[in-house]
Amino acid sequence: MEPAISITGLTKRYASSVAVDRVAFQVENGEVFGILGPNGAGKTTTLEMIEGLRKPDEGEIRVLGEQVWPDPRRIQRKIGVQLQSTTLFDLLTARELLMLFATFYNRPDAERRADEVLGQVGLETKSHDYAETLSGGQQQRLAIALALVHDPEIVFLDEPTTGLDPQARRNLWDVIRAINTDQRKTVVLTTHYLEEAEELCHRVAIMDSARIVALDTPAGLIASLNADARISYTDEEGTHALMVRDTQAAVLDVLEQARERGATVRDLSVKGADLEDVFLNLTGREYRE
């Protein structure tokens, strides 16, 4: 079966910089695919080229077997998009807004469809509230509901949880998981939260400075480190971080050596290897969210 999305050599240049540099990947049907990277890595530009909002300078994008460019309107009917900026018409209620969008897609069952997606994102009780009165998390849910209203095959979510408090973020994760498992939709999302990529995504592309630097399952990415844990501690020479396989032996070793030198080890911590370590390993930089 053809992949949901297939991208080769995707490049976008701006006057003074390259925003996306020869990006290539495939998204399989039914998976949650994440593009993870720090701000400014080129995630949103990549996503917007796939969605048909930004024209690539080079490269080919096929979505559901069709070329997106030069005429993205056809494919746009089959995809649902939540843009990074989600504010919509203030003075329509959530339900009115959804019905309006359903009508845009010529759906005769606009009312029923609006109620369905309100349920899917858990906004039933807010259906008669104006968008402007909703909380940040609720507005994101509404934006996702708008992306779902025409029952698309692929849903694109651009930093869906940015700016939300931890509780709202976790609640939104449940909504996104349900879109994938219950609605059986392919989900492509960008995020700069490592934890989010690890929690939600079947596969993650790590993007940095316009390029994809790694692509695998979260477990696969971490396994590529060939280490189980990161040990960090501070001694008289400064702060150290070690990626280690045998945690127990390594910790003992650190302490033993310190004792032999007569040094004091402070702030010793052991943390299971995660995507942060992958990023550090790939780019040589600490990941900053």
Partner: protein, 388 residues
């Protein structure tokens, strides 16, 4: 074009318009307040004033008094003595005093005392009293006068100030709603990414804007109806039978000002500038287009400026049809001018139209810089880092 979709979009636009209280204020309440204020300030000019008359029990003075009492805009109050009448004028209680001085053989000299405070008013009263005395003289002698003076006003014939004002206010309110309404909405939609979001849906932007325009036209017709009714009820303005022809004029005018709002909204980048430019364009137009005072009363060069302003044609068209009783055929030229201007302004708007904010990339970057440079200012980010 899809009818159901178009209707749904139009209804949504109307809902948003009516839910925004400030829009309703500017389109209906503000014009009513403005009209009431101007009506109170200048509407009085149809009243020439109150004249103190010292009554004399003789045929000719009684006849003059009778004529004055029945002159529109003049109130007659009697005073017992000439001295008291003159004092009343001095005090400002009366605008003029009329005293009949017998000259013998049954004839009288009519002496008029006016105040120097208002030369215009004194002139008007002088004219009225002169007319009354001459009329009575002619009637008394029974001889037809050799010359008959027949004044007739070319402009605003039989229009009171409030009659004149009402169509101007209607035009003004349609202009403000259309220009400010569409320009700020367009900037807002672009700034907030609503245009980009719409681009992802199958509705063509032209259809979406057509829905917005239709909603604005509905509001314009409502403004015509409500404000005319207000003028009729509150000020007794006589609405002509041809007033229905004001609707095509209002629609053409509204289209023209929507095109202007579209052009402004396309050119400017942020809502504040949009608002400012809208005001800079509409405010002078109010004063130059004969909204409050006849253009004919203005200096020639202003009259020439007025002729390139759409509000001038809309005001004229509305005035002709609503209070002057002129038919649609008479205002077709005004409608034509408005439609040509619509076309020109719409072209400007289309040529400068942008889906996305002008400084999109630099703005995004600076926003991003801020968010990475200040990681500890929000509890969200702190939590994010802890979660690592």
């Amino acid at each position: 074009m899809n009818v159901n979709r178009f209707l749904a979009a139009t209804i949504a636009q109307l809902k948003m318009t009516f839910r925004r209280r400030i829009t309703l204020f500017w389109s209906l309440v503000f014009p009513m307040i403005l009209m009431t204020l101007l009506g109170l300030l200048f509407g009085r000019s149809i009243s020439a004033g109150t004249i103190a008359v010292v009554p004399v029990h003789a045929a000719a003075p009684q006849a003059v008094m009778h004529v004055l009492e029945h002159t529109k805009g003049v109130t007659v109050k009697t005073s017992p003595t000439a001295a008291e009448a003159i004092q009343q004028v001095k005090n400002g209680d009366r605008d003029a005093a009329v005293v009949f001085v017998p000259t013998g053989s049954g004839s009288y000299r009519v002496r008029l005392f006016t105040s120097n405070t208002s030369a215009d008013q004194a002139g008007i009263i002088k004219g009225i009293v002169l007319g009354a005395t001459e009329g009575v003289s002619v009637a008394a002698t029974g001889r037809a006068p050799a010359l008959i003076f027949q004044p007739q006003s070319v402009d605003s014939s039989s229009l009171t100030y409030i009659d004149f004002l009402l169509p101007g206010i209607v035009a003004l309110s349609i202009m403000i709603s259309a220009v400010i309404g569409l320009s700020t909405v367009l900037v807002n939609w672009r700034q907030r990414g609503i245009l980009r979001r719409l681009k992802l849906t199958p509705i063509p932007l032209a259809e979406f804007f057509a829905a917005r325009v239709t909603a604005s036209l509905v509001v314009a017709i409502m403004q015509v109806a409500v404000l005319l009714l207000f003028g009729r009820i509150a000020f007794g303005v006589h609405i002509s039978a041809t007033a229905w022809a004001a609707i095509p004029v209002a629609l053409a005018g509204c289209l023209c000002f929507l095109a202007m709002g579209f052009a402004i909204g396309s050119i400017v980048s942020d809502p504040e500038t949009g608002d400012a430019v809208g005001n800079v364009v509409t405010n002078p137009m109010m004063f130059l287009s004969g909204t409050f005072f006849p253009v004919a009363a203005m200096p020639v060069y202003i009259q020439q400026i007025a002729r390139v302003l759409p509000l001038y044609y809309m005001t004229n068209g509305l005035r002709d049809t609503t209070v002057r009783g002129l038919p649609l055929s008479h205002v077709m030229s005004d409608i034509a001018v408005l439609l040509v201007m619509t076309l020109g302004l719409a072209l400007v708007g289309l040529r400068t139209f942008r889906w996305e904010p002008k400084t999109k990339t630099s703005r995004t970057r600076s926003r991003r810089r801020r968010s990475t440079n200040v990681p500890a200012d929000s509890p969200i980010r702190q939590e994010g880092e802890r979660a690592l």
